[in-house]
Amino acid sequence: MQVTRRQFFRICAAGVGSSSLAALGFAPGEALAEVRTFKLAQATETRNTCPYCSVGCGLLMYSLGDKSKNTETAIFHIEGDPDHPVNRGTLCPKGAALVDFVRSPNRLKHPEYRAPGSKEWKRISWDDAFDRIARLLKDDRDKNFIATNDKGETVNRWLTTGVLAASAASNETGYVTHKVVRSMGILGFDNQARV
C-alpha cells in the first residue's frame, strides 16, 4: 500500500482504526512532520500531598525517567489532583509553584560545618557529621543527665539539649523522632504547633 504523506495524514485523521495501519508497517517512506506530543504523556506520574498548609491538597507530580535504577528522575511539573475530594484539581499560588520549591537553588545539597567563631561553612561527610554530633550529644547527656531530683525522686531527664521537630515532616519521621528524643530523656522538645 503506497500512500503519500498527505494521504497518510488524512487516514490518520479518520481515526484510531486507520492510524493502526501505521503500526502494521504501512508508514510512508518519507520522514514524518509530526505535532510534538505532550511531555506529560511520557512522564511518570506520582501522587503526593502539598507540603504547605493543612488543607492537604492532592498533587500529581510529573517526572522524566521511569524510576529504573540507571535513570535519574527529575520533577518538571506539579499540578492538583482532580480525583482529590478536597482540592478537586485546584491549587493555590503556593501549591501551583511547588516545582520551584523542589528545584530551588537554595536547596541544601551537602552536609556543612561552621566552626566556633568562623565566618564560613565547610563541607563535611555524612559520617563525620554523624560521628561528631553523636559525640557532642552523648558527652552532654552523660555530663548533665538528671536521674533523681532533690527529693530523691526518679526523674531521668536531660535538660541541657533540646530538639525542635518539623510539622511539615511526615508522621513516620515524627514518630521515629519522638521515640529517639524521649528515649534519651529530653524534655525541651516541641514542633511548630507550639508557635
Partner: protein, 811 residues
C-alpha cells in the same frame, strides 16, 4: 477540625474569626463558596482587617486585635438574653445542669484561688459538687443558682453590646447584626461552622478565645452536626500529625501525657488519667488509658517493657515544669542549654523577639540544623547587614547543617486539618547528598547507641533497648514506622466476652484501638492512629472518592483518625431518641431494627448502645456531656474572661477597671527580664498584628522563584486615617518600631484597615505580613519577630504574635 474541609459544604452559616481562610487556605475555602452557591449559606467575617475572606463575605464586622473574648462573650450574652439557644441540646448534651462547688467565685476580674506571687491559681474550687453516690450533682431544670447555666448567664451578663463596642471598637450595630445572624442557627435544623486559625491561637489568652467560640457553638447545638463544629485551620501540612504524635514537651503520642516528678507511682499515674464517669451510664473512654499507655511502651521498648518494671515507667523523663519553646529559649539565654537540634524549624524567624532568640542561640555550644533549605536559623551567626547584624567571630557555637529531602522525595503520610491521614509517594531523588529525615535520625541515634554500648554512660537502658526492628537499620522505612504506630498483636488477642474467640492472631496488624490490651499483648505507637495500617493494608493510601450518601464524607478516601470517623461527636447530630436533628442532613441515626447506629459516618459512640441507655454523646469526657464550665482544665479560669494583650493601648481592662492585676491575663507566664521589654502606649500607640499572604508560606516560599516574584518585597499595611496623620503615602518606606526593635518596609496605605473607637479613643492598627528574611530569592527583609513580645498563652505558651504595640514613622 471537629469536622473537615468538604463538610463545610453542609453548613448554613460560616463564621470566620481569628483566621483568613480565603487567603491562607484557599483550596479549603472553596467549600465555603460551595455552601454559599448550593445551600445559600452566608459568610460572616469578624477581623481587624477587611481581609480576602471579608471581601467575599455577606457581612463584615471590624474588631480590635486581641479583644475576641469580649466579642464572643457578648454573643453568649445575646444568645442567653434573647433565648436563642438550642434548648434540648444544651439541657441534655452539656454540663449546663451540673452544680458547681460553693467555694467557686468570680470577683473583680479574678476567679477564686488566685495567688498573685505565683501568678497562678489554686484550682481546687473549680469543680462540680459531688453527691454521696460519687456522681456530680445536677439540676435538670437549670434553675439552681449554682448550676453551670446560671453561673454562665451571670458571668456573661457583663458583656453587654455597649461593653463589646467599648472593648472591641466594633460599632454596636455591626455587633448586633452579627449576633442576630448567628442566633438564627439555634434552630435545630440549622448549623453554623466556625473557622479559625492562628488569629485566635497567637494571643496570651488564645486558648480561651477558642473556648469561647466553642461555647457559642454548644449553645447553638452546632457541635457534632454536619456543617457545624469548631474548625481549627491548622498551619503546616502535618502540624496536626505532629501534635497527634505528641511532639511537644509535655506529651506522649495520642494525647497521653508525661508524668510529673511527684507521680512516682505508676498505678496512680494511670488512675489519675483514667477518669471514672461523673454521671451514671456514661462511657468516659479515657478509662482505657492504661491500654493505650502499655501498648505505647511495648512499641517503644519491646520485651524490655514488662508488668514487673511497670512497662518501663521510670524510663520516661518526668517534668518538674513545662519545657516549651519559650522556656527553652529563656533557659538557653541563661546559659543552661548546650545543644539544640532544629529539624525543619526556623526559630530565629518563628519564635518571638528575634534579639532574644539570637542571643540565646549564640550561647549554645552546638546547633544541628536538618532542613531541605538554607534557613535563617542556620546562619544566625552570619552577618547579613541590617537584617542580621551580628559579629561571627564572637559567636562560639558549632553549627552543623544537614540537607534533608522534601515532600516530593519521600514516601509517608501527612494529616490534614480534617484529621485525614493521607499517604504520599516519592517522585524523585533529592539533590546532591541530601538524605531523608528518618535516615538522618537513624544516623545520629545508632551512633549514640553504639557509643553507649562501647563506653557505657548515664542511664543507657532506654537507649539500648529502644525497639529498632528495621530491615535496614540505618534507614527505617516509612512503611515499617507506619505499621508500628498503627499497632499489632504480640500474642493472640481474644474477645473479652468469649476468650476462646481470637480477634487478631499474634503478629497481625490491629484493626483499631478497641483491640488494645493492657497486659502487654499488643503494641501500638499512637493509639488514635490504630487501624490506619491493618491486615487490610495501608488504609491511608486509599483513593476511592465515592460519596454514596451525598453528604461529603468519602469514608474510603485515606483514613481519618480516630477509627476513620469524619465528624467528631456525631452522636450529637441526633436528638436524645437517636433521630437526626435535620433529616435532610442525616449523618448517623439509631436503627432500632438493626440495634445499632448507622449512616454516612462512623458513629462516634458505642455502636450498639440504644438511646434509652442514656449514654451521652461526649464520650471522652467523664461527664458524658460537653463543658461550658472547664473545671480545672484552663489556667485562667473555668469561664473565659477578657483580658487585654500584654501590650495594649488601654490603661485598664474595661471589664474590671479598678483592678490593675487583671489588665492582661493574670495567669500567663512572664519571665522576669521580659516585663521590661513590653512597650507602653505612650511611646508605641498603635496596635500591630502579623499575618500571612496567599502567595507565601512563612519563610519557606521566598526560596521558590515564582513566589518570590509574586510578592518580592516586604511591606506593611496602614489605614488611610493613620497614613494621613503621619504624612505617609503609599509606596513610602516606613520604620515600624516596637520596644524590642524595628523593621523598615514599604507602606501600603489601604481602606482595608479601619481605625476604631476603642474605650472612647481613636485606635489605629498596623498590619505586618511575616514572610521576609535574609535568606532566599526574594529581596531581603526584616524578620517580623524582631518586633514581637516574648510572652505566650497561659495554657499552651503559644506566643502573642497577633496583638502588640508599635510606632510608625516615615523613613
Amino acid at each position: 477540625m471537629t469536622n473537615h474541609w468538604v463538610d463545610i459544604k453542609n453548613t448554613d452559616l460560616v463564621l470566620i474569626m481569628g483566621g483568613n481562610a480565603a487567603e491562607a487556605h484557599p483550596c479549603g475555602f472553596k467549600w465555603v463558596t460551595e455552601a454559599k452557591a448550593h445551600r445559600k449559606a452566608r459568610l460572616v467575617v469578624v477581623d481587624p482587617r477587611f481581609t480576602r475572606s471579608a471581601a467575599v463575605s455577606d457581612y463584615y464586622a471590624p474588631i480590635r486585635a486581641g479583644s475576641d473574648i469580649a466579642f464572643l462573650g457578648g454573643v453568649i450574652n445575646y444568645l442567653l438574653t434573647h433565648d436563642k439557644i438550642h434548648h434540648e441540646y444544651v439541657k441534655n448534651y452539656t454540663d449546663s445542669s451540673f452544680l458547681v462547688k460553693d467555694e467557686f467565685s468570680f470577683e473583680n476580674g479574678l476567679f477564686s484561688g488566685y495567688d498573685p506571687e505565683k501568678r497562678s491559681y489554686d484550682r481546687s474550687s473549680w469543680g462540680y459538687q459531688i453527691g454521696e453516690d460519687g456522681y456530680a450533682r445536677v439540676d435538670p431544670t437549670l434553675q439552681h443558682p449554682r448550676c453551670v447555666f446560671q453561673l454562665m448567664k451571670a458571668h456573661y451578663s457583663r458583656y453587654t453590646p455597649e461593653m463589646v463596642s467599648t472593648v472591641c471598637g466594633t460599632p454596636q450595630a455591626a455587633f448586633l447584626k452579627v449576633c442576630e445572624t448567628i442566633a438564627e442557627t439555634s434552630a435545630a435544623d440549622k448549623t453554623m461552622t466556625i473557622m479559625y486559625a492562628l488569629g485566635w491561637t497567637q494571643h496570651s489568652v488564645g486558648s480561651q478565645m477558642i473556648r469561647t467560640g466553642a461555647m457559642v457553638q454548644l449553645l447553638l447545638g452546632n457541635i457534632g452536626a454536619p456543617g457545624g463544629g469548631m474548625n481549627a485551620l491548622r498551619g503546616h501540612s502535618n502540624i496536626q500529625g505532629l501534635t497527634d504524635l505528641g511532639l511537644l514537651s509535655d506529651l506522649l503520642p495520642g494525647y497521653l501525657t508525661l508524668p510529673r516528678d511527684a507521680e512516682q507511682n505508676f498505678g496512680a499515674y494511670i488512675d489519675k488519667r483514667a477518669s471514672k464517669p461523673l454521671r451514671p451510664g456514661q462511657l468516659s473512654y479515657w478509662q482505657n488509658y492504661n491500654k493505650f499507655h502499655v501498648s505505647l511502651m511495648k512499641a517503644w521498648f519491646g520485651d524490655a517493657a514488662s508488668a514487673e518494671n511497670n512497662w518501663c515507667y521510670d524510663w520516661l523523663p518526668k517534668m518538674d515544669k513545662g519545657y516549651d519553646l519559650l522556656q527553652v529559649f529563656e533557659d538557653m539565654g541563661q546559659g543552661k542549654v548546650n545543644g539544640y537540634v532544629c529539624q525543619g524549624f526556623n526559630p530565629l524567624g518563628s519564635a518571638p523577639c528575634k534579639v532574644k532568640v539570637s542571643n540565646s542561640l549564640s550561647k549554645l555550644k552546638f546547633l544541628v540544623i536538618v532542613d531541605p533549605l538554607a534557613t535563617e536559623t542556620s546562619e544566625f551567626w552570619q552577618n547579613h547587614g541590617e537584617y542580621n547584624d551580628v559579629d561571627p567571630t564572637k559567636i562560639q557555637t558549632e553549627v552543623f547543617r544537614l540537607p534533608s529531602t522534601c515532600f516530593a522525595e519521600e514516601d509517608g503520610s501527612l494529616i490534614n486539618s480534617g484529621r485525614w491521614m493521607q499517604w504520599h509517594w516519592k517522585g524523585a531523588e533529592p539533590p546532591g547528598d541530601a538524605k531523608g529525615d528518618q535516615e538522618i535520625m537513624a544516623g545520629i541515634f545508632l551512633r549514640i547507641r553504639a557509643l553507649y554500648q562501647k563506653e557505657g554512660g548515664a542511664f543507657p537502658d532506654p537507649i539500648l533497648n529502644l525497639t529498632w526492628k528495621h530491615k535496614v537499620p540505618s534507614s527505617p522505612a516509612p512503611e515499617e514506622l507506619a505499621r508500628e504506630f498503627s499497632g499489632k498483636a504480640l500474642k493472640d488477642v481474644t474477645d473479652p466476652k468469649d476468650p476462646t474467640r481470637v480477634l487478631v492472631k499474634a503478629g497481625e496488624q490491629l484493626n483499631g484501638f478497641g483491640e488494645l490490651r493492657d497486659d502487654g499483648s499488643t503494641s501500638c505507637g499512637c493509639w488514635i492512629f490504630s487501624g490506619a495500617w491493618s491486615e487490610k493494608g495501608n488504609l491511608m493510601a486509599r483513593r476511592d472518592n465515592a460519596d454514596p450518601f451525598g453528604i461529603g464524607q468519602t469514608l474510603n478516601w485515606a483514613f481519618a483518625w480516630p477509627a476513620n470517623r469524619r465528624i467528631l461527636y456525631n452522636r450529637a447530630s441526633c436528638d436524645p431518641s437517636g433521630k437526626p436533628y435535620d433529616p435532610a442532613r442525616k449523618l448517623i441515626a439509631w436503627d432500632a431494627g438493626a440495634g445499632k447506629w448507622t449512616g454516612a459516618d462512623v458513629p462516634d459512640f458505642v455502636a450498639d448502645s440504644a438511646p434509652e441507655n442514656g449514654m451521652n454523646p461526649f464520650i471522652m469526657n467523664p461527664e458524658g456531656v460537653a463543658r461550658f464550665f472547664a473545671v480545672d482544665k484552663m489556667a485562667e479560669g473555668p469561664f473565659p474572661e477578657h483580658y487585654e494583650p500584654f501590650e495594649t493601648p488601654l490603661a485598664a481592662n474595661p471589664l474590671s477597671p479598678g483592678n490593675p492585676m487583671v489588665r492582661s491575663s493574670p495567669a500567663a507566664r512572664v519571665f522576669k527580664d521580659d516585663w521590661a521589654t513590653f512597650g507602653k502606649a505612650d511611646k508605641f500607640p498603635f496596635v500591630a498584628t502579623t499575618y500571612r499572604l496567599t502567595e507565601h508560606f512563612h519563610f519557606w516560599t521566598k526560596h521558590a522563584r515564582l513566589n518570590a516574584i509574586t510578592q518580592p518585597e516586604q511591606f506593611v499595611e496602614i489605614g488611610e486615617e493613620l497614613a494621613k496623620a503621619k504624612g505617609i503615602k503609599a509606596g513610602d518606606h516606613v520604620r515600624v518600631k516596637s520596644n524590642r526593635g524595628h523593621i523598615v518596609a514599604v507602606a501600603v496605605v489601604t481602606k482595608r484597615i479601619m481605625s476604631l473607637n476603642v474605650n472612647g479613643k481613636r485606635t489605629h492598627t498596623v498590619g505586618i505580613p511575616l514572610h521576609w528574611g535574609f535568606m532566599g530569592l526574594a529581596k531581603n527583609g526584616y524578620l517580623t519577630n524582631t518586633l514581637t513580645p516574648f510572652v505566650g498563652d497561659g495554657n499552651t505558651q503559644t506566643p502573642e504574635f497577633k496583638a502588640f504595640l508599635v510606632d510608625v514613622e516615615k523613613v
